[in-house]
Amino acid sequence: MNKYLTAYYNDEEDLLEGLNKIQSEGIKVTDVLTPFPVHGLDKVIGLRRSRLSVIAFIGGALGTLIGFFFQAWVFTVDYPLAFGGKPFFAVPSFMPVTFEMAVLLAAYAIVFAYLIHNNLGPGSKNIIYDERITDDRFLILISLEDKADDQIKEVETVLENAGALGITLKV
């Protein structure tokens, strides 16, 4: 994102109030950056529920299948080993490893999906919009990619009316 506008608030109540005003003017808020989770913010900016659980399920299901069938293949086809008078295809003994594989792959899937989706982790480049968003500022971020100059002025006016402090333009 090369063209954007940021504005900050000093209080979360003002932020929620301001956001409602901005959005009622038909301006799309790209993101809101806060130092701590703000109650009801996800509803105000219309965030969908995280789909991380779907990824966790896919990872877990994959882990279950890989864990189970790999053992089944090893102990019946590749290297059948007689132990404790058990049959080669001994389902109960496969269960612990199957379970661990399910948990492991689900956890990996969550962590990597999270890092990739949020553009975090080693090697990622992120813009720091305001150095104080991890301290005490609540920042509103609005993308200006598709906006002409006169529209930008309009957005600025709306933000000022909505009580935003410190509006910064990056064009």
């Binding site: 529920r49 058990k86 109960p92 003994s93 269960m95």
Partner: protein, 392 residues
């Protein structure tokens, strides 16, 4: 704001009394004309233990939340209290059952004339006087603590004094410590000593986890019944969601303990241990798999998504299946050791007895519910419970 009070209407009274009558008739028919007195005694023990444990889980639900100072549970606290009011009644019934010959009929170790070497070695623990002392201590302890916890909870309703809140927490902590020991030991005494030669160190926890899942399922069902009757309007989707999470989680917990016990016995392959599963697999293979499917596969798959935990349309069928599944779990624990593979069965007498106990349990719970407002509206955390949201 005081919540609506519950009144037991005439129709429900009649239904519950008919259910109890069905139970009594089934018991009498089964003992006198049907499959015999031994099978009915085993049935009585099963249902008595089951519904007594559901009551205990109600008390466990309150106390665990009181100690952890959680807030959301206060919206359904009265239902759990109502469940716990069955403890003294179930306790008396169990004691009467043991004293009137049930003990001698079902437990091999009470036959002191014909004990083999193994059971003779266990007599310091498994003898009748000590058994009755333990039974009395547990039943009395539970009943007394249940009475005082309920009393304190009602006193809290009068003016919401901090004193009663603190007392509730102290009583809860006492109960939890007592219950941690007594739930395990009582399951050894009343259930595991049926197979007196066999033992498992996981048994107490296994039974507890089974009853915990069933208790939460019963709590959900009672909540649903009350909401259908037009009560409990302060309960919202978030509370139902949390109960669904409990049901989901404890079902997995049960499966974990089931498998832990099974795999160790299967792996070690020692005859004196494997005989337990051998018997259950030989004569009860149907129940064996039904139990696993109803208690683990169904809740695990059906309650996995968020929406299914939040809607009664899925939660209620699953809860009913889980309650039935854990009944079969107890069936597997009791029947093979008492009446054996050939003589045991599952028929109308079993269903009738269970309906009778369910009627009695529901009647006692409803009568307790009618004694107080349906919400602890002066509980310090009640407001928090109403504002509560799950953020995932």
């Amino acid at each position: 704001m005081e919540a609506k009070r519950f009144t037991l209407n005439k129709k429900t009274w009649i239904i519950l009394l008919v259910m109890i009558a069905i139970g009594v008739v089934s018991l009498l028919y089964g003992a006198l004309a049907g499959p015999g007195i031994k099978r009915m005694a085993a049935n009585l023990l099963l249902n008595n233990y089951y519904f007594l444990s559901l009551g205990l889980i109600g008390l466990f639900f309150i106390t665990a939340h009181a100690v952890s100072e959680s807030g959301w549970h206060t919206s359904v606290q009265r239902i759990a209290e109502a469940m716990s009011s069955f403890i003294p009644i179930g306790g008396v019934l169990l004691l009467v059952f043991f004293l009137s010959g049930g003990l001698h009929l079902l437990y091999e170790w009470t036959n002191t004339e014909q004990l083999d070497e193994v059971l003779q070695g266990k007599t310091p623990y498994l003898n009748e006087p000590f058994f009755y002392i333990r039974t009395l201590v547990f039943l009395a302890g539970w009943s007394i603590l249940a009475y005082f916890i309920r009393k304190t909870s009602l006193q809290l309703d009068i003016d919401g004094e901090r004193k009663y809140f603190n007392r509730l927490r102290v009583l809860s902590a006492v109960f939890l410590v007592f219950y941690a020991l007594s739930s395990v030991i009582s399951s050894w005494d009343w259930l595991m000593s049926i197979d007196a030669h066999w033992y498992s160190t996981l048994y107490g926890w296994y039974v507890f986890s089974s009853m915990l899942a069933a208790g939460i399922a019963m709590l959900i069902i009672l909540l649903y019944v009350l909401m259908k009757m037009g009560y409990m309007e302060h309960v919202n989707t978030e509370h139902i969601h949390d109960l669904g999470i409990y049901l989901f989680g404890f079902s997995i917990f049960w499966a974990y303990l089931w498998f832990s016990q099974y795999m160790l016995i299967w792996y070690a392959n020692i005859p004196e241990e494997t005989v337990y599963f051998y018997d259950r697999h030989l004569h009860f293979s149907g129940v064996f798999y039904i139990n696993l499917i109803l208690c683990f596969v169904v809740p695990f798959l059906a309650l996995m998504t968020r929406n299914s935990k939040r809607s009664f349309t899925i939660l209620i069928p699953v809860s009913v299946l889980v309650v039935i599944g854990h009944w079969f779990d107890l069936y597997l624990l009791i029947m093979p050791g008492t009446i054996g593979g050939e003589a045991s069965g599952f028929g109308l007498v079993e269903i009738g007895t269970t309906i009778g106990f369910l009627g009695l349990f529901a009647l006692v719970s409803f009568l307790t519910l009618a004694k107080a407002p349906l919400a602890p509206y002066k509980h310090p955390f009640y407001k928090e419970s109403l504002d509560y949201h799950t953020h995932y």
